[in-house]
Amino acid sequence: MKNRNLIYSLVFAFVGSTFMMASCEEELIGPEKANTPTNNFELFWKTFDEHYGLFEVKNIDWKAIHDQFRSKINDQITDEELYSVLSDMLVLLNDNHLNLYPTNGTLPVFPGGVLSYRNGKLEILKVQDDYDLEVDKTYTSGYQQLTENIGYGKLPNNLAYVNIKGTDGLKQVENQMEKIMADIADTQGVVLDIRGFYGGYDPVSQYLAGCFASSRKLYMTTRKRNGPAHGDFTEIMEWYVTPKTAKPYTKSVIMLTSRFTQSAGETFALAMKQFDHIITLGDTTAGSFSDNPNFELYNSWMFSVSVGDYRAPDGISYEGTGLLPDKYAKTAKSDLLNGKDIVLEKAIQLLNQ
């Protein structure tokens, strides 16, 4: 009986300790600031002010944007009104990498999305209507999807079609690319389609570009914000593309790009553009290179911020503008609906010349 009393006392002490420490939690962790529209607006503005890497590149007066929108904010505005103000601020930054994620379940995620000027106005392209992998597969024979994001097949006249739409784990990509490069080594040319390459992890893009590299070349420099002042950046990192796999492909390559080629897809395109045997065909890329981690507001909404300043080897930034193709071509929505990809057909034609 004595032992049991002891045990029960100890169990009680454990439970008591847990509750006691739980009650100290706010003192030990710190409180959350009040969730008000004003606080959320100010935090949103401040987070961009202290982390956005492209104020100087894009010559943006962020303080003026604060003053422009501050008058629309008070603690009585609705979620819809706050959403409208914050998304309007994002559009002014002309950055495909900026998303706003409301978390109340009723307001849709605002895609900084893919931006395009049409008739002199900035529009967000929500739907890609110039590319469909399912249509492109009909031009190939023996198409294989080797990873979630990488597939390839054969085209007539000893050509190959390789499609990359994202980055998988580096080891997996290395293994699969060895197979692909060995299999396409004897072809006369390759159509490399990255029109649906929406992003991923830049070092994997670096490796993928190496599969088509003829020599080691500097293709990109990056630096990222490391402090609250607009000029606070890390040291510059240099990115080189180096021949990879046993048989890097150095014969003719036509690389297909679109406005939806972005992020790690765009750093991949930048690496590929360093080589003379690679010609880009299609539309201008999205113009969003930098990494864009998510931050949060007091109301638990999330938003992404481009924290880097990525540049081509000559020091030019293509953020907000994108990489121009060597030859412009675009497949119309009506063509896709009829099962035709005009850009792919043109690429095949170019390789057959």
Binding site: L10, A13, T18, H51, Y101, T103, G105, K224, F295, E296
Partner: protein, 279 residues
């Protein structure tokens, strides 16, 4: 939650009865002890590097431990793993709403919870000097140090709360024996120096020719208590069932005050029931 407490109490009650039939052996003999512990806990943190929100996880906890005791020294090796979900403490029901459409005119509304997961792991090696006492003493003290590698790896829509710390701590242990079956232990641990890895100010890991793990660990740097303060205390109750088997409960509380690249504070608690074998 209640069921877990009842289970722990029943376990202790049953082994008390079971143990009455076994010969009592001297307390704190020279021996090896290996054991397995299962339990529950909570981890709460506020990482200002990426969020103003307090996150909380209530992970399940598994621990393997091995102790080796000599006349003057005590050694211990622990492997500890915690897995659970992870959500903002005051915004538990947040939901994302995506509107998607394709060029064929198909549209779809998708709603799903913006949740995350929490994984923590710890490997530690401790060595302690037993301050002089007799085998029959009811109260003993040991002092020493612990080398420990601890990883917090939350995954979700936000990168907050992530760190890895390889630390060297000073630690003091006490044990008090009530009788041949019952003993309680307590310890206090304070890291003196740590090789701390956090996401940088920009919250990204990408670097040329580095995978994500290597990209994360390239940010490792040695820091002192001004950048990594992480005191921890434990309370334990052990019941000696017979000459080879014992069981017990262990409570651990740790507080983390990390000051790089921006402040992160965290509190971790765990309560584990263990079964150990002595040989």
């Amino acid at each position: 939650m209640k069921l877990k407490w009842i289970f722990a109490a029943l376990l202790l009650t049953s082994v008390t009865t079971f143990a009455q039939n076994y010969e009592i052996r001297p307390w704190m003999p020279l021996e090896n002890r290996i054991g397995l512990a299962l339990g529950i806990g909570s981890v709460t943190y506020l990482d200002k590097n990426s969020s103003p929100l307090v996150y909380q996880s209530k992970p399940k906890n598994l621990r393997l431990f091995y102790n080796l005791e000599s006349n003057t020294f005590l050694f211990s090796v622990d492997f500890d793993m915690r897995v659970g979900s992870n959500i903002p403490k005051y915004h538990k029901d947040r939901t994302l709403f995506f509107q998607e459409e394709d060029y064929k005119g198909n549209s779809e509304d998708k709603k799903f919870p913006a949740g995350g997961s929490f994984l923590a792991g710890r490997i530690s090696l401790g060595a302690y000097y037993k301050i002089s006492s007799t085998q029959e003493s009811t109260f003993k003290v040991a002092v020493g140090g612990r080398i420990m590698n601890e990883l917090f790896y939350p995954q979700g829509w936000n990168t907050g709360g992530m760190f890895n710390a390889l630390s060297l701590s000073s630690e003091a242990l006490t044990q008090h024996r009530f009788d041949n079956h019952h003993q309680v232990t307590a310890s206090l641990r304070i890291p003196l120096v740590a090789q701390l890895t956090r996401l940088p100010y920009d919250n990204t890991v990408a670097a040329p020719e580095k995978n994500q793990v290597n990209g994360f660990f390239r940010n490792a740097k040695w820091v002192g208590p001004s950048k990594f303060l992480a005191p921890a205390m434990t309370l334990g109750y052990n019941y000696q069932i017979n000459s080879h088997w014992g069981t017990g409960l262990n409570y651990e509380l740790a507080w983390y005050n990390i000051q790089t690249p921006q402040p992160m504070k965290a509190m971790s608690q765990s309560l584990l029931a263990n079964l150990h074998h002595q040989f």
